[in-house]
């Protein structure tokens, strides 16, 4: 069998404008865990060796390089580690279906404010939040990873569109601040 090389959608692209950094990041395996009716206890047991549990709505947790993100009712994404054998859940590999963009810098929140119809200011969206919302017309999962840092998950097929939207908004915010670009 030929050895296949995994390639990301944007080839690890990055840019920095006006103190805001936008970069594609590699997050490793992404597994969707959809809990089946009555499967809550079995899933909790299966996740225990990782030190993780199913997250509350709008949140994510991290432990030793593994991250679990709320992505819907009775559903989460396990990211960065191979998924252990789980009873009580429908488990699917989503690794090549998503692109993750990291947006950071003091004005990152202003960039997202132009595209996202949700309040992402620190007071309303503290570190550890994971929101399913939209970036313009794209569905996205937005993680608050730091006071000035976000990760934005979009469908891989939307990677270049998402990049374009965020790049344009970043330039606009920089121009407004009078930063020479």
């Amino acid at each position: 069998m030929p050895e296949l090389i995994a390639k990301s959608a944007l080839d690890g692209r990055s840019m920095n404008v006006g103190g805001v950094t936008l970069a594609e990041v590699q997050v490793g395996p992404i597994t969707s865990i959809a809990v089946l009716p009555g499967g809550t206890k079995a899933v909790a047991k299966g996740l225990r060796p990782l030190g993780l549990s199913m997250p509350e709505p709008n949140s994510f947790h991290e432990r030793k390089g593994a991250r679990i993100v709320w992505t819907g009712r009775e559903q989460a994404f396990l990211i960065g580690v191979d998924c252990p054998a789980l009873e009580g859940a429908a488990v699917t590999d989503q690794s090549d279906g998503w692109t993750v963009l990291a947006l950071s810098g003091p004005a990152a929140v202003d960039v997202l404010a132009r595209l996202v119809p949700t309040d992402l200011r620190l007071g309303a969206c503290p570190v550890g939040r994971a929101l399913r919302t939209g970036v313009n017309h794209m569905n996205a999962v937005i993680l608050r990873t730091g006071d000035y840092a976000f990760e934005i998950m979009v469908f891989r097929s939307m990677a270049r569109t998402a990049w374009h939207e965020l790049e344009t908004a970043t330039h606009m915010v920089a121009a407004r601040a009078g930063v020479k670009i």
Binding site: P57, N58, R73, G134, N139
Partner: protein, 87 residues
């Protein structure tokens, strides 16, 4: 207009899609009369006051919601998950 999704919290109208009256949840059973099907598919009251609608949180958690709202005052008095109601 903002709706408070039971899972996601208060969100903008842009994240939601309107489907129609709550009546769509009450599909007639097998062998129902033509009159019942006619009512289910077509007959709606045009209420000035409290109505119950189906909305879909398409740019959010992808849950169907029953929204209770007042067409006169625009007050939204309830948002429930369809999935939780079925339990």
């Amino acid at each position: 207009m903002r709706l408070t999704c039971p899972l996601c919290g208060e969100r903008d109208r842009r994240e939601f899609y309107y489907y129609g009256a709550e009546d769509y949840l009450h599909r007639p059973g097998e062998g129902a009369s033509l009159a019942e099907w006619d009512s289910y598919l077509h007959l709606r009251d045009n209420v000035a006051g409290v109505v119950r609608d189906l909305w879909y949180h398409e740019a959010g958690c992808a849950q169907w919601l029953v929204v209770t709202r007042n067409t006169v005052t625009h007050e939204i008095s309830g948002v429930e998950l369809v999935a939780e109601r079925a339990k």
